[in-house]
């Protein structure tokens, strides 16, 4: 089915444990699903780069047999390209091998071509050619703390990368290690976890070692970031120097997701999970919670969500788009994907019974590709 004579459409990319699905819509009410792409490879990371004339979808692909790689598509998933030598490859002398790409983060429009990646083993990478080749960030790789960083349940990875508008301030979050900040565009890094609690170590407030699950920046207030921790929801107003709890008003302070509004000050979304030891939505009732005042108060949002849900929502299995009002999307480990076209006030189910959802990303597509037919039912890379 094609989308004729429309100036804009929406693309929702769904990365799962067994492949990628792509959904297209012209109104964010009716969605057309294609896939699986990369069947039997997991897709833990997706970046949709809308800075150029046509959107580029980048995916971190990992086959249990054949290892990890980065592929990209410039035609919304009809065809995929993989650089012959691989986009991310540890340099000689590091004695490390890429395990998994956890994050693909297109930088701001003022730095076209710059794409960041966060990987396992814990490392940050930067591309200046639109995600085709990445270079290891040596400042973080050579950090004296590195030998003490640990592995969360899902692996040891840098999973969040946030770059401020000027490009000077870069925050990364890793599990486990916590938040690290660079004030020089990524050349040097310092741990910035003051106020973030650790429940699984003797010292509840160490300099580093926290299991911060996700961080996101307030789009309108420089130096303000939000964090969903392994128990604890936090905000910093001073660029990471101090973190304060904003968990009051939430049904639980555990969870993996942290989303922020692309333009509006003080708006963020979380998806609470009951506890580390009980990884289900509180009481089995799945709900998104949104704050519009930087975490002082939270609003429960569950219209359109199922009465009972016992699957968790993983850290990158949630995203916002850039439309007005903002769309909110998330997927569960039970393979359901939900979309809201009204900032979370109401949801519809876009997909169900997919494999575990690991990552979702959404974008507004304009230009020629907005009218392109939905991608074919299957594509990907050999092996």
């Amino acid at each position: 089915m094609g989308f004729m004579a429309t100036a804009e459409s929406y693309v929702l990319a769904i990365g799962t444990k067994k492949g990628l699905w792509l959904a297209r819509s012209t109104d964010r009410k009716e969605w057309s699903l294609s896939g699986p792409h990369f069947l039997m490879s997991e897709i833990p990371s997706i970046g949709i780069d809308t800075r150029g004339d046509n959107p580029r979808i980048m995916v971190g692909v990992r086959s249990e047999h054949w290892g990890p790689t980065v592929a990209h598509s410039d035609d919304l998933g009809a065809t995929w390209t993989e650089p012959e030598q691989g986009a991310i490859k540890f340099p000689e002398g590091t004695d490390a091998a890429l395990e998994r790409i956890w994050q693909i983060y297109p930088d701001s429009a003022s730095r076209p071509g710059v794409v960041w990646a966060g990987c396992e083993p814990i490392s940050v990478w930067k591309s200046t050619d639109g995600g085709e080749h990445f270079e290891l960030n040596r400042g973080l790789w050579d950090h004296p703390h590195r030998s003490e960083w640990g592995a969360g349940y899902g692996g040891a990875a840098a999973h969040s990368i946030v770059v401020n508008p000027s490009g000077e301030n870069v925050h990364v979050a890793m599990s486990t290690g916590g938040v690290y900040r660079s004030l020089d565009g990524g050349a040097s890094w310092e741990a910035r976890n003051k106020g973030i609690q650790v429940r699984f170590m003797p010292d509840p407030y160490p300099e580093f070692g926290q299991c911060v699950h996700k961080i996101a920046a307030d789009a309108a207030v420089e130096g303000r970031l939000y964090a969903q921790n392994h128990h604890g929801v936090y905000r910093t107003d001073d660029n990471g120097e101090n973190w304060i709890s904003i968990a009051e008003g939430l049904p639980a302070d555990f969870g993996f997701v942290m989303l922020t509004h692309p333009r509006r000050e003080g708006t963020a979304w979380v998806v609470p999970i009951k506890a580390d030891s009980e990884r289900i939505p509180p009481d089995g009732h799945l709900a998104v919670h949104r704050t519009d005042d930087a975490g002082n108060t939270w609003k429960r949002l569950d219209v359109g969500l199922p009465d009972h849900e016992y699957n968790a929502v993983l850290r990158d299995a949630a995203a916002v788009d850039s439309a007005e009002p903002v769309g909110v999307y998330f997927g569960t480990r039970g393979g359901s994907v939900y979309a809201s076209a009204d900032e979370g006030e109401s949801f519809i189910e876009v997909a169900s019974h997919l494999p575990d959802v690991l990552c979702v990303r959404a974008a507004v597509v304009s230009g020629d590709l907005a009218e392109l037919a939905a991608a074919p039912t299957a594509s990907g890379l050999p092996a």
């Binding site: 047999h65 054949w66 993989e82 490859k89 091998a97 050999p382 092996a383």
Partner: protein, 95 residues
């Protein structure tokens, strides 16, 4: 001099131009490592599917020489004789 043949699983054949096997002359002492270097030299994506950037064989890729899985022999240092067939087979993984 006999060639050494490396037999590819069907899922990897598109990465070798559709070939089901690759051959290389048995010049001098050949190890599994030098054999993989030789036969994947023109197919860098195939090379990355088999070994990571440290040169290690990926965990769930099995290579058989004369019917023996090389991890039970000398790993990538296992010698391969002229005329022998080397099988690449993916092991069981995932769920």
């Amino acid at each position: 001099m006999s060639d050494i043949t490396v037999v590819l699983p069907s899922v990897l054949q598109p990465l070798a131009g559709g070939q089901s096997y690759l051959t290389t002359p048995a010049n001098g002492a050949v190890t599994v490592e030098s054999l993989l270097d030789a036969v994947t030299g023109d197919y860098p994506v195939l090379a990355r599917r088999l070994r990571d950037e440290t040169g290690s064989l990926r965990r769930y890729v099995n290579i058989y020489v004369n019917g023996e899985e090389v991890r039970r022999l000398k790993g990538l240092d296992t010698e391969v004789a002229a005329g022998q067939e080397v099988l690449i087979i993916q092991s069981v993984a995932g769920g």
